[in-house]
């Protein structure tokens, strides 16, 4: 591991209780810039809760989250996003009634510099920023092969495309760390393979650091460099995909489920 100040993301002793239930207990993890790390564990292990803690949706009961030298816990979610953390949701949370392109534009909003008044009066700043925003949104949609759906309502997209749109929207915030919560859920094997390629490509192209929750073990083992395994809110083990795959405790944890 790199020295403290070089760390990209450092989570120390993170805990979260929901009226007595310890969803996450004493969880610590470190990530370096550019890494692609997996977070796995049986259902209810606390994976999504860790994402909610990281992105400021919950304030942790205990522990600290340091991102690029700055403390994140205690910040409201929108400020966390503005620091460069973006995510997708396990239960898709698109702006369902809005068009595909508007979904992406909204995520870009934090970067606009013109005021609401200049939009109301249609001053030049409005046109300039809307143009930049529109161009960027279309560019992203092209990357995600959604440009011909730009004007469709998000809720009318097929499931796999909704998942892709969620990643596109997260990318529009121009993140440094991308958190993906089961991006392959509900996808067929063909779509999953394409998604793997897309994740690798995004990481190369945008110099992204990615933390991935996934139940599809082929996907996790295929793209991740390190894997954290969670059980009952606690860290079970961490290692390379091969190390984790051979670990007896991991196999036991997953007993009755799909073996890793």
């Amino acid at each position: 591991m790199a020295s403290e100040e070089k760390l990209f993301l450092s989570i120390e002793n993170l805990s979260q209780s929901f009226s007595g239930l310890k969803a996450v207990a004493n969880f610590s993890m470190q990530m370096e810039e550019g890494e692609l790390v997996g977070l796995i564990g049986p259902n209810g292990a606390g994976k999504t809760t860790i994402f909610n803690l990281l992105t400021g949706i919950y304030a942790p009961t205990e522990g600290s989250i340091i991102f690029r030298g700055q403390k994140l816990n205690g910040l409201p979610a929108y400020k966390v996003a503005q620091r460069g953390l973006a995510r997708t949701f396990q239960n898709i949370r698109l702006f369902a009634d809005l068009s595909v392109v508007d979904n992406v534009k909204i995520a870009y909003h934090q970067h606009v510099t013109h005021t609401a008044l200049s939009s109301m009066l249609r001053l030049p700043g409005h046109f300039k920023n809307e143009k930049i925003m529109g161009d960027k949104a279309l560019e992203l949609l092209k990357v995600f092969q959604l440009e011909d759906k730009a004007l469709e309502q998000a809720k009318n997209l097929p499931y796999g495309q909704q998942r892709r749109l969620e990643i596109a929207r997260a990318m529009a915030t121009e993140p440094k760390l991308l958190l993906l919560d089961e991006p392959a859920a509900g996808m067929n094997p063909q779509e999953t393979r394409e998604l793997m390629d897309l994740i690798r490509w995004l990481r190369e192209t945008y110099k992204l650091t990615i933390l991935l929750i996934e139940h599809d073990m082929a996907l996790v083992m295929g793209v991740c460099e390190r894997v954290y395994v969670l059980e009952y809110g606690m860290l079970l083990t961490v290692g390379t995909p091969d190390e984790v795959r051979g670990d007896q405790r991991v196999i036991d944890a997953y007993l009755g489920e799909e073996a890793p």
Binding site: A81, F95, I106, H109, V112, A116
Partner: protein, 337 residues
């Protein structure tokens, strides 16, 4: 290029306005009809403001008449307290014609003041209450409307329960053009990045916040703009009606405005304009049978829930067919206007 659309609309509005003048001079538009038309403008402005808060930003507010009364009393108080003195001084200094013109600017300033005071109250109410969700916000806004009414009923300086007389100084011309200005400003707002930030809160607040939208800021902004519009409408009302009374801005009024927005379609500007027209015309047509109004409103709402559960317009806008598509057969995605 950019402004052609606006010029066309401006020309259309000007033509419509000229037509109303010709018709009313020729006696085809009665005084009663003209009064109804002013009321329509007032309620369009009201409905626009509430639609921004409830239809676009998704925050249920049932105290909109409270903001209207704040604007009405602020503008009315300024006009009735200083109006005579300002008017006399201006006539003496500039003569009757020029003095009258400048006096009109003074009246417009009282309207602006009414809007600003109401917007300030919007921020004051919004900051603590917008953290509340759904039902709680609705209850807080009802309470706000009632508190304003009761305070006004007991404020001697504002006429208390006998009402505040205000000289008539705003008619169809002012009401029409201010209504149009409000429509354009709000249309521009919702069709911009800031407006989309508000809409994203309605669509999914957690996702909006996670995508970097400061949801509290945009809720308060919507509240301030909506309250400011209600204040403007109140100012027009005060300067048009000769007398304002706290009970004209009661819970029922807030409810009627909400019905206009729901009827027209939450999140549609043309929809809420339609709703304001329908409701105002109906109210005036039934003014001789006040007990019938609530029945008709209820029936209207039930019929709507059956046939058009999202309101007359849903979230879509009424458009002229030839504006629908840009070149290439696709709507302009990159945003022209």
């Amino acid at each position: 290029m950019r402004w052609t659309k606006y010029l066309i609309w401006l020309a259309a509005a000007g033509a419509f306005y000229a037509l109303t003048l010709v018709l009313s001079n020729a006696g085809f538009i009665s005084r009663f009809m003209l009064m109804t038309m002013v009321q329509i403008c007032i309620y369009i402005i009201m409905a626009l403001g509430l639609n921004l808060i409830t239809g676009f930003t998704g925050q249920l507010s049932i105290g909109h008449a409270g903001f209207m009364s704040i604007g009405a009393y602020a503008a009315g108080f300024l006009a009735s307290t200083y109006g005579a003195r300002v008017s006399a001084a201006l006539t003496e200094a500039l003569g009757a014609a020029a003095g009258g013109a400048v006096y009109y600017i003074f009246i417009l300033a009282t309207l602006a003041a009414g809007a600003l005071v109401a917007a300030a109250f919007g921020v004051l109410l919004g900051l603590p209450t917008l953290r509340l969700r759904g039902d709680y916000l609705a209850i807080a806004t009802i309470g706000f409307g009632e508190i304003v009414r009761i305070v006004l009923l007991n404020t001697k300086a504002l006429g208390a329960s006998s009402g505040l007389p205000v000289k008539y100084s705003v008619g169809w011309t002012t009401a029409f053009w201010l209504m149009l200005l409000s429509v354009v400003l709000i249309y521009n707002f919702v069709n911009s990045s800031h407006g989309r930030a508000c809409i994203s809160i309605r669509e999914n607040e957690i996702a909006a916040e996670t995508m970097g939208i400061n949801t509290t800021k945009y809720k308060v902004m919507a509240f301030a703009l909506g309250a400011g519009l209600a204040g403007l409408a109140g100012g027009i009302y005060a300067n048009h009606m000769y007398l304002i009374h706290p009970n004209s801005f009661n819970f029922l009024k807030s409810f009627e405005i909400l019905v206009m927005v729901v009827l027209g379609g939450l999140g549609s500007i043309t929809g809420c304009i339609l709703g304001a027209v329908v409701m105002t015309v109906m109210n005036n047509a039934l003014s001789a049978f006040p007990e019938m109004r609530m029945i008709v409103i209820s029936v209207l709402l039930v019929v709507m829930m059956i046939f058009r559960p999202n309101g007359l317009m849903g979230t879509t806008e009424l458009r002229l067919p030839f504006r629908r598509k840009a070149a290439g057969g696709k709507e302009d995605v990159t945003h022209g206007l």
